[in-house]
Symmetry: C2
């Protein structure tokens, strides 16, 4: 028996309350059995998003929410500014290109965060830019981009929307949709929301809705206006993914009990303890600035392959973390502290990293990182 | 306590084996824990589809599979022939229009089936038609269209693809994808597959793949070629809907144990018993020809509103069936016998219909329909 521990940046562990609720017998999505559940989940999402805007629920992965955020608000030929600082930044460019937008990129080296001034400069330089596309937490690099700062810039431009992929940041970071003026913000079920993959969430501002009528791209499946009209009646446009929405309602109940501030503080504390523990082991962060609260990206010591760390964690210790993607492949490994995560998930992660590196021939003293994590996680207990 | 019985044409009841498997702790979609499950589900789908073609798995409702079947094989301006005999036929027209196709419709009155000769005539009349879009089972009318006959016509045309929405027919009808030459066939999880909503399946023939390279519509999320490349490696293009695919694997195990022929016979028997029992009550079928094995559409007796039948079934007897949609609203009610359904689901349905109609003032003798159903369901027991 090799007991399994899931510490990957999505899918993340699902609380038993949600697993059990999702295992209840099927109910019909247009019936009075389901409608109050969808209504409660919808209101919960608005609370979590800190918004009075509509938040629509899609049956898709988070990428579906990204695609819809392009096709519902932009037309072929329009200009987009993409902040590309990792694999998911690249995805914005690919989606925009697929829908015929003209893309300008701010290329941010992997491991670094964009500066709001860079966005300001780009928007000043080209007043035709209709949308700025960015990640909140860039999962491939462990960087959190300064959404508040970027939103402060974009809101000065009446014809420019800010579209934030917050798929891996939601729940882990304090994202103030309305206060900051984020026009479109995308979340997904299998990250901080502690659910299986299969749902995307999208908040839409009035400024964005005003643009939806002019957008000419095809959008039959991801039709946000149709979804908005339905969610106001506590329905979805097509068959609702009933079980996942039941799980969503349970997950939100858990988060409400904790309270938003405490949720953000927990994630910040777990992330900080992970980073400091890893540093105590003499390892370098791959994330050079503005680290995410969702995932920690760590450079492997010289001479050790990052994919070997991933593999050994899994095969020898039962811990599923993540390796590196694309240009970071082989150079890093990543550990999540996201969603249904607490003190001893970090302790497990650090202890497993120590044992894995030792097994791969790296010289270290057991407990060095664990002790630092214990110290930092003990606060307030 | 009012015990609930789900007899709607989707979502349908989920077997406990699948519910329990889906309630297991989360695993990672790119990990060796999950890959053999996806591989097994994939092979199972090919068996169920009676095809050696690729069957891709999408994270969406069935409608997502329909949308992808338009955007992956057709370009704006190309001609499509839509068989429109109900609400889902209409959906084909809407999707094709949304993607800029030029649509000709064969309008089939609700309750009737298209004749293959009508398709032949249309194709002869316009050799530029690139695709024929049809439902196998039209859920809104309870009609099964003759897919074998239509496929026999379409395969004579080298430049024309046959695209079948089999979302509610799969499992309930013997659909011979390869033998008949169906180019693209779409299934969904929440019908005969006995799973929660959230998955679409699409089989694609070589003839259709050859067309995929030329199609210019945007298709980032529903990118069938990318999905094909991934499923050949037992992965999906984006994050896999892990729990639903685990459930899919369980559902297929159950169907394999029954055997395809027995599955089809069971559905035919349940459907026949439902129809004959309802006829014994003096009610008229809304379906005038070629009734589906998935759902039975019944006209309400004069003076009784179909929506009242739906409501009374639910509120007084705990039975969730379906009313009528669009032009059939108020005139009919529908009962499914689809997926995880057997003898006493039909008995429940008929008994509840008798009690509901009596409650609504219709004159009938209790047990009249039930006895006929018992007689027909007893065969082979």
């Amino acid at each position: 028996m090799l007991k399994r521990y899931l510490l990957a940046p999505g899918p993340t562990p699902v609380p038993p309350e949600a697993l059990m609720a999702m295992a209840m017998p099927m109910i019909h999505h247009r019936s009075p059995d389901f409608i109050p559940i969808l209504e409660s989940a919808k209101e919960g999402l608005k609370w979590l998003y800190q918004t009075s805007n509509d938040v629509i629920i899609l049956c898709s992965t988070g990428t579906g929410g990204m695609v819809g955020s392009v096709s519902n608000f932009f037309s072929p030929g329009e200009k987009a500014l993409v902040i590309n600082g990792g694999k998911f930044g690249e995805r914005w460019t690919k989606i925009c290109n697929n829908y015929g937008l003209e893309v300008t990129e701010i290329e941010v080296p992997w491991g670094y965060a964009v500066k709001p001034e860079q966005v300001e400069e780009a928007l000043k330089g080209d007043p035709d830019i209709k949308g700025v596309f960015i990640q909140a937490s860039e999962t491939s690099t462990g960087v959190y981009h300064d959404i508040e700062g970027v939103a402060g810039v974009v809101k000065k431009y009446d014809d420019t929307l800010l579209i934030v992929d917050a798929i891996s940041a939601l729940v882990a970071h304090d994202l103030r949709t309305d206060d900051w003026g984020v026009d479109v913000m995308i979340g997904g079920s299998q990250k901080g929301m502690m659910l299986p993959p299969g749902l995307a969430f999208v908040s839409v501002s009035d400024k964005a809705w005003a643009r939806a009528d002019k957008a000419t791209s095809p959008k039959f499946y991801f039709n946000f206006k149709a979804e908005r009209d339905k969610i106001q009646k506590n329905q979805t446009n097509f068959t609702s993914p009933v079980t996942l929405i039941i799980g969503l309602n349970e997950a939100i109940k858990i988060l409400k009990e904790e309270g938003l501030d405490n949720t953000f503080k927990r994630h910040a504390k777990l992330a900080n303890a992970t980073r400091e523990a890893v540093r105590a082991l003499g390892l370098e962060m791959f994330t050079k600035e503005s680290p995410s609260n969702s995932v920690t990206a760590i450079e492997t010591p010289k001479g050790i392959d990052g994919q070997e760390v991933y593999k050994t964690l899994r095969e020898s210790f039962g811990v599923t973390a993540a390796g590196g993607q694309d240009q970071a492949r082989g150079k890093i490994f990543r550990i999540a502290h996201l969603g249904y995560a607490d003190t001893f998930d970090v302790i497990t992660a650090i202890a497993a990293v120590e044992m894995t590196l030792k097994k791969l021939g790296h010289d270290l003293k057991f407990g060095t990182g664990v002790a630092v994590a214990q110290e930092l996680l003990m606060e307030g207990k």
